[in-house]
Structure formats: structure tokens, C-alpha cells
Amino acid sequence: MRAFEYTRADSAESAAAEAGKNTRARFLAGGTNLLDLMKEDIERPDQLIDLNRLNMTEITESGDCIRLGALVSNTDTANHPLIKQHFPLLTQAILAGASQQIRNMATNGGNLNQRTRCAYFYDTAMPCNKREPGSGCGAVGGLNRMHAIFGWSPECVAVHPSDMCVALAALDATVQVVDSQGVAREIPFANYHRLPGDSPHKDNTLAPGELITSIELTKNKMAPHSHYLKVRDRASYAFALVSVAAALHLDGNKIGKARVALGGVAHKPWRVNQMEDFLQGKPAEDEIFVDAAALAVKTARPLERNAFKVDLARRAIVRALQKARDGGMV
């Protein structure tokens, strides 16, 4: 960790304005990701803008919209009655991530902006285009068992590590941000994170200095039929090999609407619209799920060590859809 200046922000606008002045500044929320990366000498900010005094700490309801403040902890979000009632998928996804202690510290804004867990990104002795543009990608020809099977580029094959974001993607959330000029805008979740392309150092579509103020969700009819499934190397406290957030709007046995997002497979939570369209109007039956899952992995491009993820993703989609249909929160 290197020396840095510490600034305490007192409003969202002033925080964004401060960040707009210095490209080497970073926002500090729970610190569970940023401080680790600073200790490993991966993030080297010369200024930390502490957000913890900002009043983005509430979950509010207005009409069909539920708004999650950027500074609400992951734990409080998961356990909030409004979330449990309307978005149990989100509760389940958050609780599948990290550990109780980390979730207590972690914030919703920080969760969106957490960085990849690619081992090469984490080791400054190794090449990594995300950490050091132009240095090459260590993982593409190396230990890439944990890496992407969708949407990667030769420049970067990393995956986004969040569980929460997979549920937010399936729930069509929007991200509210404010820029350094004080101008607010709204980003649909599908456009929030990005694919690596030739600029893997950019994880998302935020402009420099832009601050997340909240995340908005619109109530839907899928709460009784949603499920988050996470396949991992140990029973808890491990990142996903593959995860699936599945939500169905069922009309009797008929699928009115389906929302499915995958985690652990791409540089962003992975939605397959083609599969969702396929499911719409069909009966919620195993054979349909199997066909849908096959559609979802059709475009998969595995790397040398992660071919298993293609099959695993297919199976996990089927299981998650079955669980969602059966109304299983377990």
C-alpha cells in the first residue's frame, strides 16, 4: 500500500466533483475490495474519497419502485423486509456471496464496482491487461479454469465476481449515478458492466468521477418463482464456477415471462435474451428447460481449462429453472 490523501465527502455531488478533479482518486465505501487491492499494490490511488458519511443508506419504496441506497450494506439489503418480500432472488444471491463478516462491511455500490478475482490481475509480477494495459493477458494461455466462456476477448478472459449483480441483471435493475458536474443519469443494468473488448481495464460504463447513488428495482410478479443457484469449489466462501439467477412469471403451468442471468461465465452478468424469448409462452416443464439451457450455451467459447463450465452452465440453468418453477427458495 502506498501513501494516499484522505478526503471525507459530505454530499454525493461534492464526492463526484472531487473525483472529477483527480483521475487517481477512488471512492471508499466498505473497503472490502479496494483496501485489499491497495495492500496488494494493484490499486494505487493517491486520494481516497470516503463516502461513508453520505446519506445513501436507506432502502425506500415509492409505488412500484424500490430504491437501494449505494451505501446500504449487503447484509442489510439481503435482510430488508421489502427485498425479502419483492425480490427474494436478490436476498438469496447476496447471501450466497462472500462471508457474513464481509457482507456486513460491503456496500451495494461497492459490490457493483468490485474488481475481478483473476489470479493474474491479483499478482503484480504477472502480465495483465486489466491491471496494466498492454502487458498481455496472463490467464488466456494459463490457469483459466475460473475464467469466461462467453464474451471474452483475447485481451481479457476475466469474469465479474459478484453474485448480487447476477440477480440485479435478472431483475432488470437500473443504476442511478451522478457525475462530477452534478448531473444525474440512469443506466440500465444490462449496459452497466461491459465486455472486455480491447479495453479490459474498464469494467463498467461509468465516466471518470461518476458516483453510484442508488440502484432501482421495479416490482414484478416473479417473486414466488425465483431461484439463485451457485456452484462452487466449497460449500461457502468461494466465488462461483457458475451461478444462475432464474425468475419466472408463471400463469398456471405456462411461462408468462422468464428472466435468467448467469454469473462466473463472463466479464459481466450474462443474460441470454434468446433463451428468455424461447421460454416465453411455453409450459414450465423439464424438457423445455433442457432445450432452453442448450440454447443458452450455444455461443459458449471455452478456454483450455474451463470447458467443463459449458456443460455445468447448461445443467445449472435447468436446475435453477426447476427450482424457480417449484417455488423453492432452497
Binding site: M1, R2, A3, K39, E40, D41, R117, A119, Y120, Y122, D123, A125, M126, G138, G141, G142, L143, R145, V231, R232, D233, R234, A235, S236, Y237, A238, F239, L241, F308, D311, L312, R315, A316, V318, R319
Partner: protein, 732 residues
């Protein structure tokens, strides 16, 4: 059962540990301490051509930057082959220390460490052990497991004539100990003498190694290590950091502290090596083994030959007339491996006990029945009788507790929802070692006793068990006993390893107590009217603070009374206990039987160990509470080895890529479900005066094989390559 021995007893150091009163190495605060931070190499093999420390030296708070250029040469004897830090520009493994930045604070040292720049002449490293098994060379003999090639009968000949044969290969990746406490040392010099607080399982060896390296008499080196936050073997050898810490303190003339980061722990000490094994079994159709050939290879470094003794128990467990074991090594550009809980044993038994399970299916025989059919009544390699061996009872009791009779013999025949259920079992084995150990006992006239011996307590409960033994044989309440350890100013004890501490140091405590009893008796008998007149030492006993007639306990005198009558404040005994000669006439082993149930979500490749039952026979159980913890810990370790643990090396760079607790997966609470432990006590009069055998390592020995066998039983898929992560389960 004694008054204290054999009863449930909580840890005497428990409160100190949970309240933070127990200091670990890095927590000794010495005024004026400067803080070191290691800088590690970024290549695995080659030479440092230039190392630029200028920017680091100018960084705030920096006191000095040590590199190979300004570090004095250590005076290690020629035979000391272990890696030595900062002694040359040569790089022999990736993430090797190349500099230490010392600063006023830890944060300043860490910040400046980022500014040290090295330039290398790079060579291609070779770390792909499994790709190079063919090149393996014969291992050197081992002090513990003997010759690297061992034979009984003619294994090849018998194999070729066997009715049924089986052959398979098994692999185990490197694994790291990952104790909670990072390695650390705090050192300072005063009047030419060194005092060093270190995390160590063996303070005396640290002392002699430091003395030799630094060119000072051993008496001028004082090593202190009262608490160790887990070690499992990674603090048996003297790692490179105490040499650096002591050197820096001498050069800077002030106390210096050096602590490994988690990342640095992955190359700052050894690890369980990569292991490749081939097992061949020959048997009669009726199940009797007639030949076992066990070939093992493990990786080592380029500086030392580490023989992991993978085949160490193969010739001592089943009644097979023809056996051959071979141990080989492959040099790799990695650090030297070291002992890791049940070294060799758990690796070797993973292969042998998996192979036996495979054979049982070939024979269409219950796996437990196959073991019983080949039960060894005497040691098959040397014909010696076992001092005691209650393995048969372990099988029986374990099977009963587990419900082995409910096993449907055919794989894939047990299921619940999405999960296939499998039962697996295995045999565990470890030694009943004993080493010479010395203990000092001071019996005080205030009714208390102080004991000291320079052993260690890496977690098994050594403080506690020594207190129990002392209380039992000195006849003093445990609250009135203090036991000190981990200090070279205390009498010499062996390294805490090999599961021999209770047998070695505990026997010394017992021996000292016996001597004190005799001395107290002669003093008491000075009094002509003593009720103990005419009795010999064997006819009296120390109990409840009194020396009394064993048969007629009302006849006795208080210990305090005897000392007071002599005008003594205290009575001191220093006793060295050595293993008895009769041990040589026996084979001395501890055994166990392990049964596990797994549930495999075959669609998703996820395995969980839903139940484990361990029945263990390791002599006398001194403290059932901590013994249960030891065996439970063994099961947890076995789960990690079987399912999750794996040190991953990118062979292109020769670099370990998962050096963190987030990425190196030790089992977490959710991975450990029901663990049942049971002990079949053995009354062993041969092993040592206490009748105790090794237990700490034993508990994990059979677990990985039992889990793999259960996975096969559940799924019909045999996974011979650990760990059994979801990708392997899906692929099998």
C-alpha cells in the same frame, strides 16, 4: 481412568487465547522495534543482474534495505542445504525473497517495498512435476521411513502369478498448511547475545541453526515461542525468516520484527509435495493379497532432496507375503517441500486404500471384509508382534456406529432427491514414536508445582495434557500446576512433530514425578514415626497433595509437610526420559478405521461429506475432549485434501497463483457436517510408561481415500486425482 487422566478437561490456555492474553510471536512488543517487509522475486529461475534500492531508501521512515549485496554471509555448516535468503543473486524459486526493507513502521516498510526494482537474467523454470514423473530419480533414504526401496518376498514374481491383479495411478497436488498465524519473528541483541521470539515447533533447532549461521555460541541465543497459532509441520524446519530477522537486528543494532504475509507464506516454508503413485495389487480370488507394489514419486527443490516417505506404511498394514515399495524424486524449481500433517502417510494411504477399494469391487467383496481378510496379526515386513493393535475392534465399532451394514453393495444404488449417496471406508495408521525429552519440576512448599520443558503447543493441547499428567503423578490439583514450554532456557525437548509429544514429554513428566516421589519418601521416612515406614516407592502414591500408602490411603503425610519439616522452600528434579529398549522387539503403531458418507449432486458435480465416523486405537486417551478435537481436525483436513485443497502453479512462470485464503480453499464450516469420533483404548505397556501413541496425524490418514471410495460408491466414478472438485466429478 486416573483421577485426572482420561477425564474431559478444557484447555488450560483457553481463556488466555480467547482473551488475547496469550502472545504470539509477532505480538511481543520490544521498545524501538523496526519493521521489516520482504520483497519477493518475480521470476522462478535465473540471476539478479541489478537491484535498485535507491527509491526505497529515500522513502519515508526507511532505515535500511537489505539485499544479497549488503547482507553479511551466514556461517552455515556445509551440510546445511536449506534455502538461504539474500546470500546470492541466484533465484531458485518464484517469490523467493530478494530484499527486506526495514522502516520505522510496518506501513512505511510495506510502501517502500513496492519501490525496490530488480532486473534479472531469466531462465526457463521447470515446475511441471506431473509432466516429468518419468525422469524421477531414486530418493535418498529417510531417517524415519528407512531405505527408499524396500522389499519383502518377491513381489514381481508373485504379481505375475496372481489370479486377480489390479493396477492404477493416483495423483495429489501440492498443498499448503495455511495455519491462521502467519510466521513471524522479533529479534534483538544485548551484550552480544540474541533473543528471538519466533513461531516454532522446535526452539532448540532454531537455536542451533541461528547460532551456527550467526557465528555465536548456542548459549548466546535465546529462542522463545510460547504460543503457536497452528503449524502442522510448517514450523518444524527453521525457515529463512528468523535468520534474516536476527541478522538485521545485529546489523541495525536495534530490535527488528519480520512477519510473513499470507502470500509470502506460500513460499516462505515448505508444503506437501506433488505426488504421483502407482499401485499394483495381486490377490487370490478369495481376496488374500499375495503381492503389493507401490511406486511413489514426489517433487523436491533444486537445493535439497525431500523424501516425503509416501510408501512408509505400505509394508506394515496388510498380511501380504510379497511387497515392494519404491520412492523417487523429481527436482523442480519450487521451494523445498516439508512435513505436512501425516506426511507421506496420508498420501500413500490415499493410493493404497483407494486401490484396495477398487480391488474389492473386482472381487465382488465388501471393502471392509477385504481388509479383515488381510488383517495382519504380526508386522508383515519384519515379523515383529505389534505392541498392541486394536484395529479389528476399530473396524467393528466404526462400522456399527456408522451403519455400514446398510450399505447397498452396488454403486449408484442409494439416492435421495438430486443426490446420490455413497459409503466409503479406509484404514488409518501412524507410529507410536517416542523421543528423548527432559523436564524440570519444581515442587514448592506452598503446594504448587512448576514444570518446564522446551516443547511446543501448536494447538493439540500440550499445555493441558502435561498439566493433567503432572497433576496425576504429583498428586497436586491441576490449578496448582503451571507448565512452561517453547523456550530454550528450559530443558530440551524434541520438535513437536511425528505425534510424539505426549509420549516423549509426557513420559518425562511421569519419570520426574516418580523420582520426586522416591525422594519425598526417603525424606518422610527420616521420621521414625512416619506412617510410611517400611514402604518402598512402589507401595506409595502421590495423591491429593499427600504421599500415602497405596493400599491404606489414610496413612500418609502431606507433601508440603515433608518439605517444611526439612526447611525446604522447594524441591527440584530434572529428568530425562529416553525410549526403553523393549520397544525394539515390537512393531509400534497406532491405527484407526474411518467411515464416511458422501452426497453427490451428480448433475452439478458437487460432493459433500455428510457424515464421518472415526474409530481410533492409539493407546491410552489422556483427555477425551482435546483428543476428540484432534480427530475431528483430522477429518476436516482429510475433507480439504479430498475435495478442495490445491496449490496451483502456472508452469510457464513457475509461480504459485492462488496464495490466499480466498483462492486456496481450506474447508469452511459449511463443508464439515457430522463428525463422530470414538476411541478404542489399548493397554499398551511397551510403548512408554504412559501407554500413549501418536494421535494428531493419525486422524486424517484414511479420510481422503474413504471419501474417494464413497464417491465411487455413490456415482460409479473413480476419481484418482485430488482434489475432487466439481469439474473432475463432471468429467469422470
Amino acid at each position: 481412568m486416573g483421577k485426572y487422566i482420561g477425564k474431559e478437561f478444557s484447555r488450560v490456555d483457553g481463556v488466555a487465547k480467547v482473551t488475547g492474553a496469550a502472545p504470539y510471536a509477532a505480538e511481543f512488543h520490544v521498545p524501538g522495534t523496526a519493521h521489516g517487509y520482504l520483497v519477493m522475486s518475480r521470476i522462478a529461475k535465473g540471476t539478479i543482474t541489478k537491484i535498485d534500492t535507491a527509491a526505497a531508501e529515500k522513502s519515508p521512515g526507511v532505515v535500511r534495505v537489505f539485499t544479497h549485496k549488503n547482507t553479511p554471509k551466514f556461517a552455515h555448516p556445509e551440510k546445511y542445504k536449506s534455502f538461504k535468503a539474500l546470500q546470492s543473486p541466484e533465484i531458485v524459486f518464484n517469490a523467493q525473497p530478494i530484499a527486506v526493507v526495514v522502516a520505522e513502521t510496518f506501513e512505511e516498510a510495506r510502501a517502500a517495498a513496492n519501490l525496490v526494482e530488480a532486473t534479472y537474467r531469466r531462465e526457463d523454470p521447470s515446475t511441471d512435476f506431473f509432466g516429468r514423473v518419468e525422469e524421477a530419480e531414486q530418493a535418498p533414504d529417510s531417517p524415519f521411513s528407512g531405505k527408499s526401496v524396500q522389499t519383502t518376498g518377491d513381489a514381481e514374481q508373485a504379481m505375475s502369478s496372481a489370479e486377480i491383479t489390479f493396477e492404477a495411478e493416483y495423483t495429489i497436488p501440492a498443498e499448503h498448511h495455511n495455519p491462521m498465524e502467519p510466521h513471524a519473528a522479533v529479534a534483538y541483541w544485548k551484550n552480544g547475545k540474541l533473543k528471538i521470539f519466533d513461531k516454532s515447533q522446535d526452539v532448540y533447532t532454531v537455536r542451533s541453526n541461528l547460532a551456527a549461521a550467526l557465528g555465536v555460541p548456542e548459549d548466546d541465543v535465546h529462542v522463545v515461542s510460547p504460543y503457536v497459532g497452528g503449524a502442522f509441520g510448517c514450523s518444524i524446519r527453521t525457515n529463512y525468516y528468523p535468520f534474516l530477522t536476527a541478522m538485521m537486528a545485529r546489523e541495525l543494532k536495534r530490535p527488528v520484527k519480520l512477519v510473513y504475509t499470507r502470500r509470502q507464506m506460500f513460499t516462505g516454508h515448505g508444503y506437501r509435495p506433488f505426488t504421483h503413485q502407482k499401485i499394483q495389487l495381486g490377490a487370490k480370488k478369495t481376496g488374500e493379497l499375495i503381492s503389493i507394489i507401490h511406486e511413489a514419486a514426489n517433487n523436491t527443490s533444486t537445493v535439497e532432496k525431500w523424501n516425503d516417505s509416501t510408501t512408509r506404511f505400505t509394508r506394515h498394514i496388510y498380511a501380504c507375503p510379497n511387497m515392494k515399495t519404491i520412492q523417487r524424486l523429481v527436482k523442480t524449481d519450487l521451494p523445498t517441500p516439508c512435513a505436512m500433517r501425516a506426511p507421506g502417510a496420508v498420501s500413500g494411504m490415499f493410493a493404497l486404500e483407494s486401490a484396495l477399494d477398487e480391488l474389492s469391487y473386482k472381487l465382488d467383496m465388501d471393502p471392509l471384509e477385504l481388509r479383515l481378510k488381510n488383517y495382519a496379526e504380526v508386522d508383515p515386513a519384519n515379523g515383529k508382534p505389534y505392541s498392541t493393535k486394536a484395529l479389528r475392534e476399530c473396524y467393528r465399532r466404526g462400522a456399527e456406529k456408522f451403519g455400514w451394514d446398510k450399505r447397498q453393495p452396488i454403486p449408484r444404488s442409494m439416492r435421495e432427491g438430486n443426490e446420490l449417496i455413497g459409503y466409503g471406508m479406509s484404514t488409518g495408521i501412524w507410529y507410536a514414536f517416542q523421543q528423548p525429552a527432559t523436564v524440570k519440576v519444581v515442587l514448592k512448599a506452598d503446594g504448587t508445582a512448576q514444570l518446564t520443558s522446551a516443547t511446543s503447543d501448536i494447538g493439540p493441547g500440550t499445555y493441558t495434557v502435561m498439566t493433567i499428567i503432572a497433576a496425576e503423578y504429583l498428586g497436586i490439583a491441576p490449578e496448582k500446576i503451571s507448565f512452561g514450554l517453547g523456550d530454550t532456557q528450559m530443558p530440551k525437548a524434541p520438535v513437536q512433530g511425528g505425534s510424539w509429544t505426549t509420549a516423549s514429554v509426557g513420559s518425562a513428566v511421569h519419570g520426574a514425578a516418580m523420582k520426586l516421589k522416591s525422594r519425598l519418601l526417603s525424606l518422610a521416612q527420616k521420621d521414625k514415626d512416619s506412617p510410611l515406614q517400611g514402604l518402598g516407592p512402589d507401595e506409595v502414591v502421590l495423591l491429593d497433595g499427600r504421599l500415602q500408602n497405596r493400599k491404606q490411603t489414610s496413612n500418609g503425610v502431606s507433601i508440603v509437610g515433608i518439605l517444611k519439616a526439612e526447611g525446604m522452600d522447594s524441591m527440584t528434579e530434572v529428568h530425562k526420559e529416553t525410549p526403553s529398549k523393549i520397544r525394539e522387539d515390537y512393531q509400534l503403531l497406532a491405527h484407526g478405521a474411518q467411515f464416511v458418507e458422501v452426497r453427490v449432486d451428480e448433475q452439478l458435480g458437487m460432493v459433500r461429506v455428510s457424515r464421518a465416523v472415526e474409530a481410533t486405537a492409539c493407546g491410552k486417551i489422556m483427555n477425551p475432549k482435546t483428543s476428540h478435537s484432534q480427530e475431528m481436525g483430522g477429518v476436516v483436513w482429510g475433507i480439504g485434501m479430498a475435495l478442495t485443497e490445491h496449490t496451483e502453479v502456472d508452469d510457464r512462470f513457475g509461480r504459485i497463483m492462488n496464495p490466499s485464503l480466498a483462492d486456496y480453499h481450506v474447508p469452511c464450516c459449511a463443508d464439515v457436517r457430522k463428525v463422530d469420533t470414538d476411541f478404542i483404548e489399548e493397554d499398551d505397556r511397551v510403548v512408554n510408561p504412559l501407554g500413549v501413541k501418536g494421535m494428531g496425524e493419525l486422524g486424517m490418514v484414511g479420510i481422503p481415500a474413504a471419501i474417494s471410495n464413497a464417491v465411487y460408491h455413490a456415482t460409479g466414478k473413480r476419481i484418482r486425482h485430488l482434489p475432487m472438485t466439481p469439474d473432475k466429478v463432471l468429467k469422470a
